[in-house]
Symmetry: C2
Subunit: 148 residues, 2 copies
Amino acid sequence: MENCTIARAMEILGERWTLVVLREVFNGVRRFDDMRVRTGIPRQVLTNRLAMLVEQGVLRREPYREPGSRLRHEYRLTGKGLDLWPVLVAVLGWGDRYLADPEGSPLAVTHRDCGAEVRAALRCAEGHEVTDPRDVLPRPGPGARRRV
Amino acid sequence: MENCTIARAMEILGERWTLVVLREVFNGVRRFDDMRVRTGIPRQVLTNRLAMLVEQGVLRREPYREPGSRLRHEYRLTGKGLDLWPVLVAVLGWGDRYLADPEGSPLAVTHRDCGAEVRAALRCAEGHEVTDPRDVLPRPGPGARRRV
DNA sequence: AGGCTAGGTCTGATTGACAGACTCAGCAAC
DNA sequence: GTTGCTGAGTCTGTCAATCAGACCTAGCCT
């Protein structure tokens, strides 16, 4: 199972703080210190995570300069990073359902056009909505290798 | 941001092997040694992950006995665990898109009824499909605490 | 010149991952 | 009835990662 894409994805996403960092970036927080203060991630870890995410092409480091301030860098999502929205929304949905405080989730995601709440849903290529997880069948894909 | 549900979820899901274990369970692999051989996870780590997942209520440990064999235990998904399908499918989709070998993904998920491929999609409560990640607006939710 | 600020580095203690060897219960074959 | 096998672990030692806290640095402001 060395070519398992879930394992590979988790090597990037599974580093305990990675998704928290990404949530901040999706939220519009792009600066090192803002992230640090808002999340409480240790500096060193944040430095490492950001560097890793840049190296993986999920974020890119962009110079910017505010008037009266020196040149700095901010972190922005690449296309690869933007495509993580469904992952983030799915995790958020699950967390909200099972791990939220009684008063509810601290974060909501809404549709720009209509303002309604956005959730992650499963649907098949034929357009059917999949509601029961038991209706999903895992099967070997094209890149599957036969185990002995 | 101590009540952030993403951080809480990642405390469970973010342990580098957790989703790989869950993928196996979703795949129908329920036994310790099968998982170990298929994934290459070190015994100790697998023991810890399984215990943690049971403690968190994602898996439950069920006794079973095969004829001519002694009593053993297998690991099965709880409702809380089954609800992780969207997360897993979202991660799988992302991994397939950006991290797969040229020959493709080793795992496909299909709809039981029609056999078509299942993917994670974003949609809002009004029923709109959300295709562009930029159409999603993050906002403070009911449980948000004002930062000073 | 001195202080402030964003974005880091350096250091040392604690925790986690990992490999490899060992354990242990029950069945089975000799 | 002892030997061996198998599934599901535990024990041990090494090496890497996390974390907290102090330190550093470039450029701006006073």
